[in-house]
């Protein structure tokens, strides 16, 4: 934008801020248990999530059981973002005027302090990521959190050792692994369709449990699919953003 418009842009922003201040007086008092956000459909989620969905963690029960169709859409959005990154920047050849500092993110730092610290930390990071996914229904956690922590551990390996380490999760392999994660999610839904139930109805899974226990295993399967997809896509975006700077 021309210079004078971006200097004058504080005027409509101030007007928007005053309108928002005026409207904020009509919101319910913060902490009100009878506010409209807390009285229509969420009492049912709170009361039924342990007995019917099998998960004491109500957020995971809503995410993986009551609204699992939305979570499927969200995982596909993450995969689409990874594919978009790959299309924009993936097949780029290095030009001559790449900044010098950028090589550091690909070669590895090679310092002794970083080497020793990462050897101590990375096994615990990876173990904690798997713990968070598996315990997603009784404590805060789930597929997304575990995927992000696992990806952070792998990025630590890549940054301190160089791009040949870290499970060699380069861009091509990462796309296949991400699609495998989404196939696990879709496969659970299609299995329910094949056996005559509705899409993503966990009562159709062929396991020797029933009621809340069966739905707990269904949501665990779905969370593992989300975990694999999120890890692979985050490593894919990291690889695309840093890999153009090699020699």
């Amino acid at each position: 934008m021309p210079g004078f418009i971006s200097r004058l842009s504080w005027v409509p922003l101030l007007a928007a801020l005053l309108v928002l201040f005026y409207v904020a007086r009509d919101f319910p008092r913060m902490g009100d248990p009878e506010s409209p956000a807390s009285t229509h459909v969420s009492p049912r989620y709170i009361e039924d999530s342990e007995s019917k969905a099998g998960a004491p963690n109500m957020v995971t029960a809503v995410l993986a059981d009551y609204r699992s169709y939305d979570t499927l859409g969200e995982t596909v959005v993450i995969l689409t973002a990874g594919l978009a990154c790959l299309l924009v920047l993936g097949s780029f050849r290095r030009t001559r005027d790449e900044p010098e500092d950028a090589k550091l993110m690909v070669q590895g730092f090679g310092s002794d302090v970083l080497d020793a610290t990462s050897r101590l930390l990375i096994p615990f990071i990876v173990l904690f990521a798997v713990y968070v996914v598996v315990h997603g229904h009784t404590s805060p956690g789930g597929g997304f959190q575990g995927g992000a922590i696992f990806a952070a551990g792998l990025m630590l390996v890549r940054l301190t050792r160089g791009k040949a380490k870290g499970l060699r999760l380069r861009a091509g392999v990462a796309v296949i692994i991400a699609c495998a994660g989404i196939f696990i999610y879709l496969g659970t839904g299609l299995l329910s369709l094949i056996r005559g139930y509705q899409f993503l109805d966990y009562a159709a899974l062929p396991l020797p449990y029933e009621g809340g226990h069966l739905r707990e295993f269904g949501s665990l399967t779905v969370e593992v699919g989300v975990f694999i997809a999120v890890t692979a896509v985050l490593m894919l975006i990291f690889d695309v953003l840093t890999s153009g700077a090699e020699e």
Binding site: R29, G31, P33, S42, S49, V88, L241
Partner: protein, 122 residues
């Protein structure tokens, strides 16, 4: 100011954060700062939703051990938390794609400043 008006201070600060993010998209000429402004706007919306779901003297939405008939009054509303989990993950995906686009723009045109880009595009 009365005590009721003071409880909407949190909503005012969320609105202020939103407008700061919007200013960060409009005014600075550098494209990376515009991206930071977009992230600040997304965080402001998430702050607003989490503020909506809070209840006084209530615990986080995980059923206590041995509590098989949860009383609705004692647990924080889990529905805004679920929606905001999706919002955070979509936000990081959008940031990744935007950064890939920025690297490509810099490689093609040599600059990340918007007035110079508009000159070079003519």
């Amino acid at each position: 100011m009365t005590i009721e008006a003071l409880s909407s201070v949190n909503y005012w600060l969320a609105a202020l954060l939103f407008v700061i993010g919007l200013y960060g998209i409009l005014a600075p000429p550098n494209l990376v700062r515009k991206l930071m402004g977009m992230n600040i706007m997304q965080t402001a919306v998430i702050v607003f939703f989490i503020t909506l779901g809070y209840k006084d003297d209530a615990t986080p939405p995980i059923a206590r051990h041995g509590d098989h008939e949860p009383v609705v009054r004692n647990y924080i509303n889990p529905l805004p938390h679920t929606l905001m989990l999706t919002a955070i993950v979509v936000s990081v995906s959008t940031t990744g794609v935007a950064l890939a686009l920025l690297i490509r723009i810099h490689r093609r045109f040599g600059t990340l400043s918007e007035p110079e880009l508009l000159e070079k595009l003519k």
